[in-house]
Symmetry: C2
Subunit: 323 residues, 2 copies
C-alpha cells in the first residue's frame, strides 16, 4: 500500500536523496521525457548524482532536450518514476529490475496503481511536467531555459498543443512561465506537432483508406499493421500521434486505433469526447488511462481485438447503440 | 495618409461614437470574426447601436459566437474595420460601399496599407483579438464569457492553436485570462482544429496524391481545383486550414497552396518557417501578409500561377536553389 504524499513532501524526499534513478514509461512521450529531463537537470544543479532510464530508445525528435547526454553509471539508492501510472508501464526489463523498489512516483494519472512506496499524484494537472515544475520550484533550483523547454514539452505534448480539454488556464500560464525564459518553442512545436515525413503521410493515407465506421458513424476504427508500416517505410518516429486521427472525423464519439505490435498482437488506443469515457472502455479489457484518452492491449488476432474493443465500447457507452 | 493612433485613442474614438459599423475581412477567419464579435458585444454593453458586416457568408462552425444574431439596420456614422490590412480585403462589395470612408482600423498586420482615417496597429500581437481585448479593457466594459470566447477564438485560430511562432507568452496569458471566465474552449478547439468531415478527408487525400516538390524537397506545392472540391463533396467549411499542409512535410521551407477560385483563377497561400519570408515572396506578386503566412492572387491558368509563384520563391529566397 503506497503512502500518498504532497508536492512539498516529494521535494523533501528528493532533497534528502542522492544517487537517484529517474524512470520514464515505455513508448516514451513528451511528458514522461520532459518530466524526467527537467527533474534530472534540477537535481544535477543541486549537485546530485542522477540519471534517467527508459525501457525504449528515445525518439530522435526529442534530441533537443539533450536526452543523448551521457548519463553517469551508479547503483541507485533512490528510485523515482515520473508519469508512470503502473509498474507494468515501465516495460518488462525496467519492471523486473526496479518495479518493486520504486521509492517515489510523481504522476498525474488518476488511475495510478500505487506501486511505489510513496506517491504524489495531482490528476487535475494536464501534464506530469506541471507537477514537476512546482516540485522544482520547491527545490529552489533556478528555472533555466534548458529546464523550461523540458517542462514546456511535457505540457504541450500532453495537451495536443493546447487543443484538448485538459489544456486549461493553468496549463497555458505554466507554458507562458516557461516561455519567459526564452525557449525555442517554435522549433519544439514544429518537431512535435507540425512535421510529417513523406512515409508518415503515406501511412496515414493507407490508414484512412481502410477506416471502418460503426454505430451510425459514432465509432471510427483505424488499423495500423506491421505490413502497412513496412510498405510505407515509416520508422518508429513516424508512428506517434496516430491515435487522435479517428476521432477527428465529424460526429465520431469514440475513435479507436489498433496498432499491431512486433509479436503480432494489437495495442489499442481509444480517444473520446464528452459523450464517452475512454478509461471506462479500456478498463473492461484490462487497460486504463484518462477520460478522453486511454489504452489497452488484449492478446489475439485483429478480428478478435476488433470484436473485443467494439464490445467494450457498447458495454461502457450503451447510448452509442441507440438513436 | 492615415494617422497612427494608440489603443487608448482608439478606445476614446469608440466611446465617442455611435451607430457603429464594424467590418470583417472577406473569407472571414476566426480572428477577424472573434475581433468583430467581441467588440460588437462590448459596444452593445455600452448601449451603442452597432452591427458587424462581412462580404462573405460566415462559416457555420462559428455559430457558437452567436454570429447569426440579427443585427440592427441603420445608417452608420462611424465605420471601424478589424483585422483588415487593406481596403481590398473587405471584398469588392464592402470596399465599394465603405472602403474610402473607414474611420478607424484596428489591426495586427505590419503590412496595413493605412486606408483608414486613423489606424491602430500592433504587429507584435499574434492576433487582432489580443488588441481588441486591451481596447475592451480600456472601454471599461466587463469581460463576459460571451466576449471572452470571441477573443479566445481569435487568439487560438491565428496561432494555429498555439502552435505557430507567433504563439508567445502573451498570447498564452491572454488566452488564459479568457478561460478564467469559463468559456467552452474544448468545443472551440474541436470545432476549429480537430474536426474534419469525411469529404474534407477525401479532399486532403486527393491533394496529397498530387503534391509536387521542387528544389530538393524544400518547396512543396499543393493544388485544390474546383473539380477536386466537387468530386470530394467538400463544402466551403471543409476548405479552411488547407494552406499549412504542404509545409508540415519534413524539410520543406516553403509550402504553397494554389486554390482555384470560382472565376477559374488561383488564390495562392504561402507558408514558411525560419528559412524564408512568406510576405516577401507574395509581395512580388502583389500580395502580402505575415513573415510566416502570406497570400497573393495573380490571374492566369494553373500553369501560369505555378510558374509565377515558383519564380517569386526563387527570387525572394535565393538560398533555396543551392546546395
Amino acid at each position: 500500500m503506497t503512502k500518498r504524499i504532497s508536492e512539498q513532501e516529494a521535494a523533501q524526499r528528493l532533497l534528502g536523496a542522492d544517487n537517484i534513478l529517474l524512470l520514464a514509461h515505455q513508448y516514451p512521450d513528451g511528458d514522461t521525457l520532459g518530466s524526467n529531463f527537467a527533474l534530472y537537470l534540477a537535481l544535477q544543479a543541486l549537485g546530485k548524482t542522477v540519471r534517467v532510464a527508459c525501457e525504449d530508445v528515445i525518439p530522435e525528435k526529442y534530441d533537443y532536450m539533450d536526452v543523448s547526454a551521457s548519463m553517469p553509471d551508479f547503483e541507485p539508492t533512490f528510485i523515482c518514476a515520473l508519469d508512470v501510472a503502473d509498474a507494468k508501464l515501465l516495460g518488462s526489463g525496467m519492471q523486473e529490475a526496479y518495479g518493486d523498489r520504486v521509492d517515489l512516483c510523481i504522476d498525474h494519472h488518476s488511475t495510478n496503481t500505487g506501486y511505489a512506496a510513496e506517491t504524489c499524484v495531482d490528476a487535475s494537472c494536464a501534464a506530469c511536467a506541471m507537477i514537476i515544475l512546482r516540485v522544482i520550484r520547491l527545490l529552489e533550483v533556478e528555472l533555466t531555459p534548458a529546464i523550461a523547454q523540458c517542462v514546456y514539452t511535457g505540457i504541450a505534448t500532453d495537451t495536443g498543443c493546447f487543443k484538448y480539454a485538459n489544456a486549461d488556464a493553468l496549463a497555458h500560464r505554466m507554458a507562458a512561465d516557461c516561455m519567459d525564459l526564452g525557449i525555442p518553442y517554435e522549433m519544439i512545436n514544429r518537431v512535435n506537432f507540425d512535421m510529417k515525413s513523406r512515409a508518415r503521410i503515406e501511412l496515414e493515407r493507407m490508414a484512412l483508406d481502410n477506416m471502418e465506421f460503426y454505430h451510425n458513424g459514432r465509432v471510427a476504427l483505424m488499423v495500423i499493421t506491421n505490413n502497412m508500416v513496412a510498405t510505407s517505410g515509416a520508422t518508429e518516429n513516424d508512428l506517434e500521434g496516430l491515435p487522435p486521427i479517428p476521432r477527428q472525423i465529424e460526429n465520431v464519439w469514440v475513435g479507436i486505433t489498433l496498432r499491431q505490435k512486433a509479436d503480432g498482437n494489437y495495442k489499442i488506443s481509444v480517444r473520446t469526447g464528452t459523450h464517452a469515457d475512454a478509461a471506462a472502455v479500456c478498463a473492461l479489457l484490462g487497460g486504463g488511462g484518462h477520460n478522453r484518452a486511454a489504452g489497452c492491449a488484449p492478446s489475439g488476432t485483429l478480428d478478435e481485438a476488433k470484436a473485443a474493443i467494439l464490445q467494450a465500447v457498447e458495454q461502457a457507452v450503451p447510448r452509442i447503440t441507440t438513436g
